[in-house]
Point group: C2
Chain length 363, copies 2
């Protein structure tokens, strides 16, 4: 009797009707249901599902049997409320990022789930949506945020005020200390430019990505800076949108702008470089790389296809994702850790879409 009446104090006081209806049956069972069936207290059930709790063998057996019988699974929502840990991290990713690096998301998800954490996905359509999104992210009480999209300084402040660990992926803020995992785009740009110049190219053209893409700006600016350093000023730049078509269109625009085709085209990503190559071959009837050199950035799958064999600089996406995961997890465990920026070097892929100087001494 003491056991029975102790099940659910409310059941004791309020009308017994509540106690009768067996939770809609088949609907989800709660720890109280399991407790009742196993004739133990709700706390006992809770403890049985907590690894390392103090529970006798016989009790655990009884509870587990009842739990299986009812198909009981602990309610993570209720648990989150009391433990203040949702075991979810938000990943904010743009259509673009996912299109060109579908593995980013998968790697992040893999890394987090290995640590018992799930990814709550926030996809960005328009950059302006981020404000509403941010509120929502915080409402869901995520334990951390991976931000593969732009964020203003004030928005960062908002997250920081809430003490939610977060990491930028492939972007950063320079005016304040934040966690960030990046790939050194300008290092890649320098490598490309140096080898192109070394091979004797004289006129260059650049097809950038969207102006609001941080990565594109770094790549484009890095290339321009390197060119300037080496004496090539006023290099023509046209703006693309990372798509195949815009790579093709970019080549035509460059021809117009310069008055002829450049010797070498530096594209802010591989897909545009591929579009550019196809345009050079099929529309201009050129041989790549004999007649024109075309290089890209990213190291995506198609860059390795025989038809292209692109000269590019690849990002170590998997290692970057791993880094982001562990940075977040460390900061969930210890919120006091200071911000950290981790910069990875790109991997140079010589390929065969550009004439390069044979070898390059260490800069």
């Amino acid at each position: 009797m003491s056991t029975a009446s102790s099940l659910r104090n409310k059941a004791g006081r309020s009308s017994p009707v509540r106690d009768n209806h067996p939770r809609d049956n088949s609907g989800r069972a709660t720890s109280y249901d399991v407790a009742k069936l196993a004739r133990v207290s709700q706390s006992a059930v809770s403890r049985c599902f907590k690894p390392g709790a103090s529970v006798s063998k016989s009790m655990r057996a009884r509870v587990m049997k009842a739990a299986t019988q009812l198909g009981y699974q602990p309610n993570a929502i209720a648990r989150s409320l009391i433990t203040r840990r949702s075991n979810m991290v938000a990943v904010v990713i743009s259509q673009q990022t996912n299109q060109y690096y579908p593995e980013v998301l998968v790697e992040l998800s893999r890394g987090f789930s290995g640590r018992g954490i799930r990814v709550l996905l926030f996809t960005l359509e328009h950059e302006s949506d981020i404000d509403v999104l941010l509120d929502q992210i915080l409402q869901y009480q995520v334990d951390g945020v991976v931000e593969a999209a732009r964020l203003s300084s004030s928005q960062v402040e908002m997250i920081e005020r809430r003490r939610v660990p977060f990491v930028f992926f492939n972007r950063t803020l320079h005016d304040r200390p934040v966690n960030a995992v990046c790939c050194d785009q300008s290092e890649g740009a320098r490598w490309l430019v140096k080898r192109l110049v070394g091979a004797g190219h004289k006129t260059f053209g650049i097809i950038s990505g969207p102006v609001d893409s941080a990565v594109s700006v770094e790549r484009t600016q890095g290339a321009l800076d390197s060119l300037t350093e080496l004496g090539f000023k006023n290099t023509a730049v046209v703006i693309g949108d990372y798509s195949y078509d815009s790579g093709a269109a970019g080549l035509r625009s460059l021809e117009q702008k310069i008055g002829k085709l450049p010797d070498a085209v530096i594209c802010a990503n591989d897909v545009m470089a591929i579009g550019c190559m196809d345009e050079a071959r099929f529309r201009y009837g050129l041989d790549v790389p004999k007649d024109i050199s075309i290089v890209g950035f990213d190291g995506v799958g198609p860059a390795r296809w025989s038809s292209y064999d692109l000269t590019t600089v690849a990002q170590p996406v998997q290692r970057m994702a791993d880094a982001a995961v562990s940075m977040i997890c460390e900061r969930i465990a210890n919120p006091e850790l200071p911000p950290e920026k981790r910069m990875f070097s790109p991997v140079m892929v010589p390929g065969n879409s550009a004439r390069l100087r044979r070898s390059v001494e260490r800069s």
Copy 2:
């Protein structure tokens, strides 16, 4: 005084210390904090954040001011607990799906977020992980599940017992009624085969996907059946893994198996078809489609690139994602809706990687 003491009964009875410390400041504020600052009840705060609730203008103004001041955001976890709606749906997706259709995930996310629902991501590495995963999915109390991965009948039963609406994406179960959004792969296969045969091809080879891929089986079997119907028996089949390399390797295997290269190769996806094309061109020195016809399935971006211009059947991914979203949402609103299967026709893309019969009468 009545207001003050009514804030949180616990504050009244237990030690006043709890009431004093202002919730760690800067940490997240609760509706009680807002209530206290605005000198109203917690219920009032709750109502101010519920659209359509009965609240006077003056109260709403005061509450909103206090909320802004404290940076209050309602706790979605707590809300979910009481409303029994988490506003999250699980999307189970395999590495593979996301690799070849990154837009599936984005489209699903877009569709759901338009209805105030967020995507909780579950990525599959090994198919066997699904058991553990399923438990976890249910623990998170998601309002629905989109399953872009295989699931056994018993696993389906488990979800159904919990009364969680779910939809299969591009797969289905034939032995029980379930919700599913599919693309008619065999219709696509039939179209391809018919036109290839019509154009006079005599020997065929098939490069299938992984044997455990439902989509691959449908495509491969569909092609085999159509071929048999038209009098071509014992078509050679080799097994690939959907990758570029396996498409290339597949062509070599077919040559070995048949003793010569087939007139036409049907690949279970576009990426293998592309690998196969590159192999035919660069290793065998063939002209595609003059010397050999190569076709694929999917209609992914690269299939449209000038270097390939693949003959393929495309899946209307966006429409399929929309369908999945609305099927889930309808069933969240009304769990009694009977299961439904929605089958989309693929879009035929003639391309230029195969010699096809000019036109085809309606079958």
